[in-house]
């Protein structure tokens, strides 16, 4: 029974629509859970700046506040290990998701970012059997997720040698930065048939291609509503085809339920995986419909979903 247990969410960043959706999902699901008496409290904490050191301090404060479990979206997979270890030593349950932590004592709900990158190239290989030049838009240098996705993309390219990455820019996961970087490199690039991204940069890239008057390549999207809307527009106008893939912000709610299950005494393997949320040509419309205007395509999880994920992991 976890009715008297208190769970905290430690979040390192709130400055984009994905994180906002994540926080909203958390709020929606956990406040219902608190109401139903599943747990006593589920508070969310966000640091002012996206920094490892601030989040480490935040985790230490959460320990002092006597929470029973901390759900973390971490700024760094390694940099928080010190604080996470402190939490474990103090008897807290630590569950990380999206930005996972590597400390042995913590649970991880991971998305296979590497596979996500590779899938992008696999998809392009299907659509463009002749291959061609690719442009890669990366995230923030030195961050784990950026490395993973990029590694997957490069792996995909080496398996599909008909593709060549002719340009790679860092868009810092910020739409204006990505647009600027793409616009800058574009004039000096040969024809580009595909753009591989890390999520959220697709619309900016499309704008840059349009402004440069170039042929629109297949731009892999990242589930933002504006991307999907643009895609839909193009699809209706000229049958444009692409795919969209990203992790659902609602994973925070899965992590919540997993933490609840662990507190409840369930036997949960340390490493769980969730599939990423992929949108294709055929389910574009239905996803666009359910996505809030200006927001991100999302899936929220219930207790049963969590139990299912746990059972699957145990089955492996």
């Amino acid at each position: 029974d976890t009715a008297d247990k208190r769970i905290a969410l430690s979040n390192n960043y709130a400055g984009n629509s994905w994180r906002q959706a994540m926080l909203q999902s958390w709020d929606k699901v956990t406040s219902a859970a608190v109401q139903d008496g599943a747990v006593a409290a589920a508070d969310a904490f966000t640091t002012a700046e996206n920094q490892v050191t601030e989040q480490a301090a935040q985790i230490q404060n959460l320990i002092l506040q006597g929470y029973d479990a901390i759900v973390i979206n971490a700024a760094s997979p390694e940099g928080l290990n010190g604080a996470v270890q402190e939490a474990c030593d103090a008897g807290l349950t630590v569950v990380s998701f999206d930005g996972i932590v590597t400390a042995d004592c913590a649970w991880r709900i991971a998305v296979d970012f590497k596979k996500m990158g590779k899938d992008e190239v696999t998809y392009l290989a299907e659509k463009l059997p002749d291959g061609g030049n690719l442009l890669e838009i990366r995230g923030l240098a030195g961050v784990f997720v950026d490395d993973e996705i990029s590694a997957g993309i490069h792996e995909g390219v080496s398996e599909n040698p008909q593709f060549k990455i002719v340009g790679s820019v860092h868009g810092d996961w910020a739409q204006d930065v990505a647009q600027k970087a793409v616009a800058g490199i574009l004039p000096s690039l040969p024809e580009v048939v595909g753009v591989v991204t890390q999520g959220g940069d697709g619309y900016g890239a499309a704008q840059a291609f349009k402004a440069a008057g170039r042929d629109m390549p297949i731009i892999v999207m990242g589930n933002r509503q504006d991307e999907l809307a643009w895609w839909k527009e193009q699809k209706d106008a000229n049958g444009y085809e692409t795919m969209s893939v990203s992790i659902a912000p609602g994973v925070s709610t899965l992590a919540f339920w997993v933490a609840q299950q662990i507190l409840d005494g369930a036997d949960v393997p340390k490493d769980l995986t969730v599939p990423f949320l992929r949108i294709d040509q055929d389910n574009l419309e239905e996803n666009l419909e359910t996505t809030q205007k200006g927001g991100v395509a999302n899936v929220e999880y219930a207790l049963d979903d969590a139990k299912k994920v746990i059972a699957e992991a145990k089955g492996d």
Binding site: V52, E78, G82, G142
Partner: protein
């Protein structure tokens, strides 16, 4: 006591006052913090910040500003978590190289009369780039001895408090009480006068920058001792934190008016300000704004004594 001297005394006591206030508020909100364990958790991350702030303050002393300290601390943390652990000699050499590079920057800034802000802004890219080269993906592991030191549990007094006191005391003695310290500060107050007394301003700048590089490296090592592993972006925030901390502690941007003890207190205050907010359990919507509000609140105390000071 005359007016300006009294105002100065008051201002000198102000950082300590705001720290005491904040600490009181935290103890009230969360009595659990009032223990050995609590203070340890509350303050241990203040140690690297205090070091970075002291490094920034050293640069402020000679009327410069270091916009690269955050990425430099990140780099030294990456080096500490990789080379220093695996091949200590190489690690020490690399850290020594960092200190020398800082000295060279000081010399460059002095000889070419360059604005330190731009040079260090450029260096912030360089340090970050090097950090990514040293540690392309987050990882590494803190050297055992560093980890052991940072998690040391001495009897009675928590380690972070001892560390902060030692840092403040050493910096104070070196800068405020040593004979050469007076020259270093004088070079911030009136460089021409110091040069006319026969001192080399070049040597002053190089000394200060190297000292900052050294203390900055200590910050990186201390940080990695707490986090156990590193990340190229780990301490970027320290640039602004260290400036804010130094100013909070009573240092000024020009004129060589600095306070090492104040800098350490300022760093601790900033760390505690964030903790205070999480103890308040605000609505997530306002958490970021509240960080700004608390900074304003802490600094607004200055307004109380501001009246006594002239518009200089």
């Amino acid at each position: 006591m005359t007016g300006p001297a009294f105002a100065r005394l008051l201002r000198g006591a102000l950082p300590a006052l705001s720290l005491a206030l904040l600490l009181g508020a935290i103890f009230y909100l969360q009595p659990r913090t009032m223990s050995y364990f609590g203070l340890n958790l509350l303050l241990n991350l203040a140690v690297p910040i205090a070091l970075a702030t002291v490094a920034q303050m050293l640069i402020l002393t000679v009327n410069d500003l270091d916009l690269s300290i955050g990425s430099y601390v990140s780099l030294t943390a990456c080096i500490a978590a990789t080379w220093l652990r695996d091949t200590p000699l190489l690690g020490l050499l690399a850290l020594g190289g960092g200190v020398l590079a800082y000295g060279a920057l000081g010399a460059l800034i002095h000889l070419r009369n360059l604005p330190s802000i731009v040079v260090t802004l450029g260096m912030s890219f360089v340090w970050l780039g090097l950090a990514i080269l040293v540690l392309p993906t987050p990882g590494g592991k803190a050297p055992d001895i560093v980890r052991a030191l940072m998690t040391w549990k001495p009897p009675y007094v928590p380690f972070p408090i001892i560390a902060c006191v030692v840092i403040a005391a050493l910096a104070h003695v070196a800068l405020m009480r040593s004979p050469y310290g007076a020259v270093l500060r004088g070079a911030g107050g009136n460089p021409r006068a110091v040069a006319r007394a026969g001192w080399s301003l070049l040597r002053v700048k190089v000394t200060m920058y190297m000292a900052a590089g050294f203390v900055g490296a200590l910050a990186g090592i201390a940080l990695v001792g707490l986090t156990t592993s590193a990340d190229a972006n780990i301490a970027l925030r320290y640039t602004l934190l260290s400036i804010a901390g130094a100013i909070l502690g009573g240092s000024e941007f020009v004129g060589g008016r600095v306070s090492p003890i104040g800098a350490v207190i300022g760093a601790i205050t900033l760390t505690l300000a964030a903790s205070f907010l999480s103890f308040l359990r605000l609505n997530p919507d306002f958490q970021i704004g509240a960080q700004g509000a608390i900074l304003i609140l802490v600094l607004a105390l200055r307004a109380l004594i501001g009246r006594a000071e002239k518009d200089r």
